[in-house]
Subunit: 410 residues, 2 copies
C-alpha cells in the first residue's frame, strides 16, 4: 500500500505570498494605471557583480573542453572554495574553523530544512515568533511538531520564543526542556540583532542543557555596528553547541545562482539513547554524500570569486546600496511618526502598523492609498500581528518614491 | 539533549570507491611507471556540448545586468524548461505528461534519495540486487530497513530482487508484501534492460497491490533497441503507479553542472491510514518548495538547450561515442572468452569474472597484470559477487588499449 507520510497532513497552507499576489492582482485589475511599488521583496535585485560573472564564465569554458572538464565533484564542495570560506569568513576574523568543517550546498533554505534529519524525532524544538517558516514546516514533516492548534495558531509540541517590541526583540531563555533552538540573526523578518552578550546567554544555555543551536546567519554581511556578532563562533563555547548556516544569496546576490554553506564543527557531538557521543560533522558528511551531489563547478568558481579583492569590494557596494535603502525607509517612517525597528544591520525594516491596525488591514491601506506593497507581519507568526515588513531590496529611486507616498498616508 | 537519528547507526560503511582508490594508490606507489587505464568510471568524460555551453554563458550574461537578472526562480523549475521536457521527452513520444507533472532538480541522486520522505516509515521497500546504494541508504536513514544482518549481508526489512545471470537479469515478482519498488532501467550496474512486456508485469503488480514504482531512467538515452522502454509511462497504467526520475547527467554530460527532473503524475495517489487518497504530485510540490530552492537559472537555460536541434545532435554524438566504447569492451570480452552482459542499451558492461574468481580477486588481477581498473560487482550487493563492471566512459583510445591488455590476461 502506498501509505503516505501522514505528518504532511499537519502542514498548514503557506498562503502569505500567494495571498499578497492575489490582492495585488485584484488591485491592478481595478486600477490598471496605478504605479505599484514593491517594498515587500525578499529577493535581491542587483545583478551578479563583474568578478563573479567573469569567474563563472571562465569556469563554463573549462566545462567546454575535455582537458579541463569537471564531472562529479566532491559532494561537500571543492577544496578551493571550502578553504577560501574557512580562511576569509572565519580564520581572518580570529575564528578557528577548518575547511573540513565547511559544507558547500545549494542553499541555506535546503540546509536549514535538511539538518533536522540528523536528529531523533523525539527532540523538542524551539523557534522564534515571528519566524522563517521553513524551520517549522520541515519539523512538521518529520513529525516533531505535534498537532496544529487553530485557536492558538501554533503547533502543540513546539516552543515559541517571542521576538517582540515588549522584549526589545531579544527572545527570553525557555523555562521548559528544549533540545534544538533555531536562531536567525540578523533576524528575518524583524531585521533586529543580538549583541554578543545576548547571544552568549544562548550558547551558555545550550551548553548547560546539551541543546543544539541552529544559527542562521544568512544576513551576516549586513552587520554594520560593533559588538554585533557576524558568526555565532565569535562566542566562546559555540563550537560545542552550534551549527551555522550562511549563504551567498543575500550577500553576493546568488538567489538565482544557488550557493551556500553550513559549518558543522568537529567539536560538536550528538548523543544516542545510550548516551554515546557521535560526531554531527561525520553524520552531516554522510547525509550530504548520500543525498546530494554537489553545487555546479562553475557556481563554486563564482562563489570563490567573492573572496577576491575585486569581488569583496563590488559586493560591499551592493550591500551598502541595500542598507542605504533601509536607511531611507527608517527615516521616512520616523518622520511619519511610525515606529520602526531593524534596518541598521539588516535589509529588513519591521514597523508597527499605525493606529493599532492589524497587519493585513495595513497591507490593504498601503496598497490602495499609496500603491506600495509590503509584507504583513502576521504571515510570519502570531507575534507578527500588528507589524509589517519593508525591505531595502528595490532600487533607491523606487524606495524614495514609495516612502514619499507612505509619508503622505492619512 | 542533542539526540541523534539513531537510524544512522545502522548504515554500513560505503567502502567501494574508497577501497578501489586505496588499492590503486598502493599499486601506483609500487609501480610508479605503470600506465593505469580506468574503465571503472561512472562519470562522463566528454565536455559539455557547444549548444549547452553557449546557452549557459548567455544566461550568465543575463545575470550580469539588472534588466535581465533573475533572482529566486520557481523551486520546481522554470516553465521554459518544464515545458520543453514535457514536450520533447514525453508528448512527442506519445506520452501525455504535462509541465506541472515535471519537477526540475539538481540531481536524480537527490530526488531518488528524497522521494521516500513522502511515504510512511512503515512501507516495505524492495530493491534489486545488485543495486545503486542510494536507494538503500536513504531508507536506512529513514528507519525502514530493519537491522543489517552481517551473515546475510542484507537488511532484514528490505526485499531484495535478484538481477542475476540465472534469471536473465529480469527480477521476479516478489511473493511477499511490497509497497515500494525501486527499478533502474537501463540498469545500473548491470547495463541490462527490461522489455516492455517485462516492465508491464511490474506495472500490473503495482496496480493490483497499490504499490509504488520508483523508476530510475537516468540511462534512458542509451536505449538503442526497439521494444525497450525509455520511459515507464510507455506502459499503460503506469501513471497511476509510478514516479520516474531522469537526469541530464549521463545524457548531456551534466554530472558537474547538476540538472535532473522527476515526473510525478497527477493521477498517482497515496493513501493515509484511513484510506483517504492524497496527490503525491501535490505532496512533492510541497516538499520541493519547502526544502529546495531551485536549480541555477543559467543551468536551466543550458538544460533547455539540450532540446534544440543542434543540442540534440551534439548530445547524440557523445552518447554514440560512449556506446561505441561499450561495444569495443563487449567484443573484446567475447574474444577473450569472458561472459558479458549489458553494453547494448547502456554504457555499462557487466562481466562474469573468469575462472569462478571473486569480484575483488579479479579486480586485483586486472590491476596487477593489465593495469586496468574496473568496479567489483560485489560492491553493489551480494548478487554482484563474482561479477565486475566496466564502463564506456573513458576515451576510445584508452578503451581499446585496456581491452587489448585484458585479452592477453592469462
Amino acid at each position: 500500500m502506498r501509505l503516505i507520510n501522514e505528518n504532511y497532513l499537519e502542514l498548514q497552507g503557506s498562503y502569505l505570498f500567494s495571498e499578497i499576489a492575489k490582492r495585488v492582482n485584484r488591485f491592478k485589475e481595478e486600477n490598471p494605471d496605478a504605479d505599484i511599488l514593491r517594498l515587500g521583496i525578499g529577493d535581491v535585485t542587483r545583478p551578479l557583480v563583474p568578478a563573479v560573472v567573469e569567474a563563472i564564465k571562465k569556469a563554463v569554458d573549462d566545462m567546454a573542453s575535455a582537458d579541463t572538464f569537471r564531472g562529479y565533484g566532491p559532494e561537500q564542495g571543492y577544496d578551493f572554495l571550502r578553504e577560501k570560506i574557512a580562511q576569509h569568513d572565519y580564520c581572518e576574523r580570529g575564528i578557528a574553523i577548518t575547511a573540513d568543517e565547511v559544507f558547500v550546498s545549494d542553499g541555506a533554505k535546503c540546509d536549514t530544512g535538511n539538518i533536522q534529519e540528523l536528529l531523533g524525532t523525539e527532540v523538542h524544538i524551539a523557534v522564534t515568533d515571528p519566524v522563517y517558516p521553513v524551520y517549522v514546516d520541515t519539523n512538521v514533516m518529520a513529525g516533531r511538531s505535534g498537532n496544529f492548534d487553530p485557536a492558538e495558531g501554533r503547533y502543540t509540541n513546539i516552543t515559541y520564543l517571542g521576538v517582540t517590541e515588549e522584549n526589545g526583540f531579544v527572545p527570553e531563555l525557555p523555562d521548559e526542556r528544549v533540545d534544538v533552538i533555531y536562531l536567525c540573526y540578523p533576524n528575518n523578518p524583524t531585521g533586529t540583532v543580538l549583541t554578543k552578550a545576548e547571544l552568549a546567554k544562548w550558547v551558555d544555555f545550550a551548553g548547560k542543557n546539551n541543546a543544539l543551536i541552529l544559527f542562521d546567519a544568512a544576513y551576516e554581511a549586513y552587520v554594520t555596528e560593533p559588538d554585533i556578532p557576524r558568526s555565532i563562533y565569535e562566542i566562546e563555547g559555540a563550537k560545542e553547541v552550534a551549527i551555522e548556516f550562511r549563504s551567498f544569496s543575500k550577500t553576493a546576490g546568488f538567489t538565482g545562482a544557488r550557493c551556500a554553506y553550513t559549518v558543522v564543527p568537529k567539536a560538536l557531538k550528538g548523543y544516542d539513547s545510550d548516551g554515546n557521543e557521535h560526531s554531527l560533522n561525520a553524520m552531516w558528511l554522510r547525509r550530504h554524500t548520500t543525498k546530494f551531489n554537489g553545487v555546479p563547478y562553475y557556481t563554486q568558481r563564482g562563489a570563490e570569486a567573492c573572496y577576491t579583492p575585486e569581488g569583496k569590494s563590488q559586493i560591499q557596494t551592493d550591500i551598502d546600496y541595500y542598507l542605504g535603502n533601509a536607511k531611507i525607509i527608517l527615516q521616512g517612517l520616523k518622520e511619519a511618526g511610525i515606529k520602526a525597528f531593524g534596518g541598521v544591520n539588516s535589509p529588513y525594516v519591521w514597523l508597527k502598523c499605525p493606529g493599532q491596525m492589524k497587519s493585513w488591514d495595513f497591507f490593504d491601506k498601503l496598497l490602495k492609498e499609496a500603491h506600495v506593497v509590503g509584507t504583513p507581519g502576521a504571515g510570519f507568526g502570531r507575534s507578527g500581528e500588528g507589524y509589517f515588513r519593508l525591505t531595502g531590496f528595490n532600487t533607491k529611486e523606487n524606495t524614495m518614491k514609495a516612502i514619499e507616498r507612505l509619508m503622505k498616508l492619512k
